[in-house]
Symmetry: C2
Subunit: 465 residues, 2 copies
């Protein structure tokens, strides 16, 4: 009788559409989505994969990842430290594997620039035909223990951050951040860009290396942990980590000769708020690779974009990539640009989200909403929603606005399929034409297809079918 | 009839005690306190003062204060720039006026140290008897356009930050922060302390001055605004402002000769997370003094503690101090110390709260709760409660976690009396014995008595009685 007398109270687990017309105060809308994005076959596989063995493998995997304490020890030429990069003419790029012919504008531009930088060609036309001819091998950074933002192009003569885990001697590498404006990673390759790369090779890299040799190594986890309490999220906002690092290293840099070089390096660090991004990326790469190949684990070990496809790697399937077409980011555009100018999403920088930073640590960074859109409470909601798809908070990355609970870390393919919640990636937006550069920033979600593919492969590997 | 059938719903405007026993779900407790802290005479005066003329004066005063854009231009010896400090033997101290005989331990220690530093005495005993004899004048920093944290002792040979408002040519000054540990401002005066002061006088001050001469002046409002988006609150947490400033100035410092001095300065800046505090204080002093003497305005222009008394200044009563005895801060103590070791609250640093920083900007600084106690939501609640007693948000100090609304700024004596809400001050805690140093940090409220005294004086000045 009471439902007639006391009015209707509706609990809806489906589309909000279905309760349209019911006053909103009477509706409790559950955030439920069909498992496996509605793919019944994968839903069945996911259910079969969800076993105590998987839980054990994942607990092991996340424990290993979270215990890595990456140390920044050196800045060396890639040719000297990045495995395989000096075998013949080779250039590395962001994201999963892709052939030169299918690459997007910014990545092609960056490869042309890197070819000029290496003096393999004298003109952009010559560089392009050299790349057309296949005489320069192009392979993903990720296949060489490295990561790079946006186009992510790494050439043998470029200096790289050398990050190591002293407990097992593993290494990861990342290029040095060029700053904003006309830069190689957005596909620019004019004189200004190449000269800067030459300066970075000849001055910045060697000065930073001598600095680290003299100062000692930098504990990156601790640097980023402190930066999270200062409004960074370790992907799109890096001003705190950059400022802390510069302040700490400045006395050592200032002590190096010639002083004109030391001053130029300090000026460069003072002018580049994103300098620490690539360090954060190398650190995340080293940490996540620790779980590569852990049998039965459904932990995501890499998310990366090449501007055409999104790629996913999972611990239990090792070095295999699950890929699908990628779209452009939705976000805030710089004046004069809009979605029609945007390149599809690009770069290895989503390794930070894979680790539990970036979009996952948004709560730490209310100020970033002015850059990527949304409000500070959206930022907190974003972090909260990432808890639903991760294996556990990262103990070294407490988020002050969330009462110091750790940033949600370690994406579980099965949790993504179960909840329908997709990883949030806090990304820069590149112009689709090479060389124009960054035109905005925003949030993207990883595409559902790669999680479906990953589940199929994980099931196959375990004879579930 | 329904109140008998549907149960009791209580709205309580008095002490929570009175509704004890009523289930808490049935009680709405209003945060109401009797006006003027229960002083009926002052409540009547406050009511009379609450007029359109007062509103107009306050709107004028807060507008003037918020439009000041303090510039850090130089670092000069106090004797050269601080008015009156070089007239005979004079030392300045924190808080409202107090005679040597009544001073607390840390302030006496700091004055002994400053006497040794100035070479007016050779031993602490000699310094003490010189101070006993009255041959060294002691006056408040505030009376000389200056501010100093904790004991706040300023001697003529010390270097000071010179902060100016280019629009009217006014100046404010603050000592340079010595760092943590054994330092003069906590009353220590041994060899280590005096040597550091000598180094600051001979090396740090001149190098910083040459840096500013070469780099140009620093817009402090913009520096602090950015630091607020990086977890500083501009009083007890200054790591962001210090890091940003150091990173910006490092190239210029590194270019100065001799390089050994430049390196020593960069090392000092790298090791002192509170370096920017004194700059924030001088900036707040310059801004608040712009309202000094604005007729009829009930805006608080200074809050300062000398370790014995708390002092308040109000725009409409000019340079008059309203004082009352001050207690120790309640907060988190460093291991081995407790409330029984704490000196009563001390220092001019509450000028930052007077401006709308520190305790008023707590929301910007969730991480500070680990230093002063409480939780991040307490920090937001603190900022929110300060809205009730302030004249308006500071447009240059947006707080990201509060959706970028400005920090509550400009304490109104009448609002304090009306709401019974007292200004929150985020403070360091000094040991009561000279020289032991900081033993904790916490939150204090300004004492109610000074607001009662201020209201009486404001009323008297306007012939209300």
């Amino acid at each position: 009788m009471s439902i007639f007398n006391e009015g209707l109270q509706v609990v809806n687990v489906g589309l909000p559409l279905i309760v349209e017309g019911v006053p909103s105060g009477q509706v409790t809308q559950l955030d439920w989505r069909p498992p496996a994005f509605g793919d019944a076959e994968v839903a069945r596989l996911a259910l079969a994969l969800d076993s105590p063995e998987t839980d054990e493998a994942n607990a092991n995997a996340i424990g290993i990842v979270q215990r890595v304490r990456p140390q920044l020890t050196r800045v060396r030429p890639a040719s000297e430290v990045v495995p395989g990069i000096a075998d013949g003419r080779m250039l590395l790029h962001a994201g999963p594997p892709i052939e030169w012919e299918r690459m997007c504008g910014p990545m092609r531009g960056a490869l042309i620039g890197a070819t000029l930088f290496e003096n393999w060609a004298e003109t952009p036309e010559e560089a392009e035909s050299l790349l057309d001819s296949g005489q320069i091998k192009v392979e993903p950074c990720h296949h060489h223990g490295a990561v790079g933002p946006m186009a992510g192009v790494l050439a043998p003569s470029m200096p790289v951050f050398v990050v190591t885990d002293p407990s097992d001697g593993r290494f990861a590498f990342a290029s040095l951040n060029e700053g904003l404006g006309k830069v190689l990673r957005f596909g620019a390759y004019d004189e200004e860009v190449i000269s800067r790369l030459v300066w970075m090779r000849d001055i910045l890299g060697p000065i930073l290396d001598r600095t680290l040799q003299s100062f000692g190594s930098i504990d990156i986890t601790s640097l980023i942990g402190q930066a999270l309490s200062m409004g960074d999220e370790g992907h799109n906002r890096n001003v705190a980590a950059t400022s802390l690092l510069t302040r700490r290293l400045a006395p050592t840099i200032a002590a190096l000769e010639p002083s004109s070089d030391a001053i130029a390096v300090l000026n460069f660090l003072a002018g580049n708020d994103h300098f620490a991004l690539n360090i954060s990326m190398a650190s995340a790469k080293l940490s996540m690779d620790a779980a590569l190949g852990i049998d039965k684990s459904t932990l995501v070990t890499a998310m990366a974009r090449n501007g055409v496809e999104f790629g996913l790697r999972v611990a239990g399937t090792g070095e295999q990539w699950f890929t699908t077409a990628v779209g452009p980011a939705d976000g805030l555009f710089f004046p004069g640009y809009g979605p029609e100018d945007a390149n599809p999403d690009l770069g290895d920088s989503a390794i930070t989200e894979t680790m539990g930073l970036g979009g996952f640590a948004m709560a730490a960074s209310p100020a970033i909403t002015q850059f990527v859109g949304g409000t500070p409470s959206d930022a907190i909601a974003a972090t909260r929603s990432m808890r639903r798809i991760t294996l556990g908070p990262h103990p070294a990355y407490p988020l002050p606005p969330m009462n110091f609970t750790g940033s949600p870390s370690g994406i579980d393919v099965l949790k993504v399929l179960d909840t329908g919640v997709l990883p949030l990636i806090n990304t820069g937006i590149a112009h689709k034409t090479a060389g124009i550069g960054q035109i905005g920033a925003g949030i993207v979600t990883a595409p559902p297809e790669v999680f479906l593919s990953a589940a199929r492969a994980l099931a196959k590997a375990r004879g579930i079918g």
